[in-house]
């Protein structure tokens, strides 16, 4: 992985959201799972998605962009689908999930993160990655 670059900030954000979504869903599923099972399960799915996103960004920063080009779209799809469902079917969400209303509870960072990732990925594909053979 290159030592410096914007991927460092993306990795920090993904790690933070693994922690935030994972802890949130873990506590909620352990203490009050019956209150909003769909929302809490979706938060757990979000945590897993962020963990996969972290791996994807890390691999892409080393030049292997295949996983990221799938994973970031999956993440964006998840935010858009869950965000829309939370607005049109509020009964399914007695309590908020991480992606409710497109991540309004997290300053819309959940919606911005995959977009930022995809923009970075586009640039990443255009830049040749130094290899060990080239002496980096």
């Amino acid at each position: 992985m290159p030592r410096t670059g914007p991927h460092r900030v993306l990795l920090a954000l993904y790690a933070l959201f693994v922690l935030a979504a994972g802890a949130r869903s873990g506590v909620q599923l352990a203490t009050e799972a019956g209150r909003a099972p769909v929302a809490y399960a979706l938060s757990a799915v979000a945590a897993l998605t962020y963990a996969a996103g972290w791996v994807a960004i890390r691999r892409a920063s080393a030049g292997r962009t295949g996983f990221a080009s799938v994973m970031l779209w999956v993440e964006l799809g998840g935010v858009l689908v869950v965000g829309t469902l939370s607005l049109v079917e509020p009964d399914w969400f007695p309590d908020a999930s991480v992606w409710s209303a497109y991540g309004v509870g997290y300053g819309f960072v959940p919606a911005a993160l995959p977009v930022a990732g995809l923009l970075w990925l586009r640039r990443q594909r255009a830049v040749p990655v130094p290899t060990a053979a080239s002496g980096s």
Binding site: R3, T4, R8, V9, L11, L16, T31
Partner: protein
């Protein structure tokens, strides 16, 4: 926010906000990470550690937060986030390492606010 614990939280959150803004500006200006920013981060870590110790002390004295499990989670996050962030950029003093600091300091500010909210009234 009228109690000493609340005022301590307010100071820590305000300082975390300052570190966030400074780190963000350094990122946007594409400056290498200065040593004084590291020192600022460790001062923030010290402030959060004092806040956590004070919070744990209050709980040991019999006070209970309204949302116990969440509050304990936030106490742990309050002292864990900055060292992890600093470790992740230990080999990188480039401009983007300032961005990592900005993310971590913002997270600490949010955790500070959440600590206050999960403690409940009278904090």
């Amino acid at each position: 926010m009228d109690t000493p614990l609340g005022q301590l939280t307010l100071v820590a959150v305000g300082y975390a906000g300052l570190v966030t803004v400074v780190a963000l500006v350094l990122t946007l200006l594409r400056r290498p990470r200065p040593a004084w920013l590291d020192q600022g981060v460790w001062i923030l870590e010290l402030l959060m550690a004092v806040r956590v110790v004070a919070g744990v002390g209050s709980m040991l004295n019999g006070q209970r937060p309204e949302a116990m499990s969440s509050h304990v989670g936030y106490l742990a996050a309050a002292v864990a986030v900055l060292p992890i962030a600093m470790q992740s950029v230990a080999d990188d003093r480039g401009p983007w390492s300032n961005g990592v600091i900005a993310v971590a300091a913002l997270a600490v500010a949010v955790v500070g606010v959440r600590l206050q909210l999960t403690w409940g009234t009278g904090a």
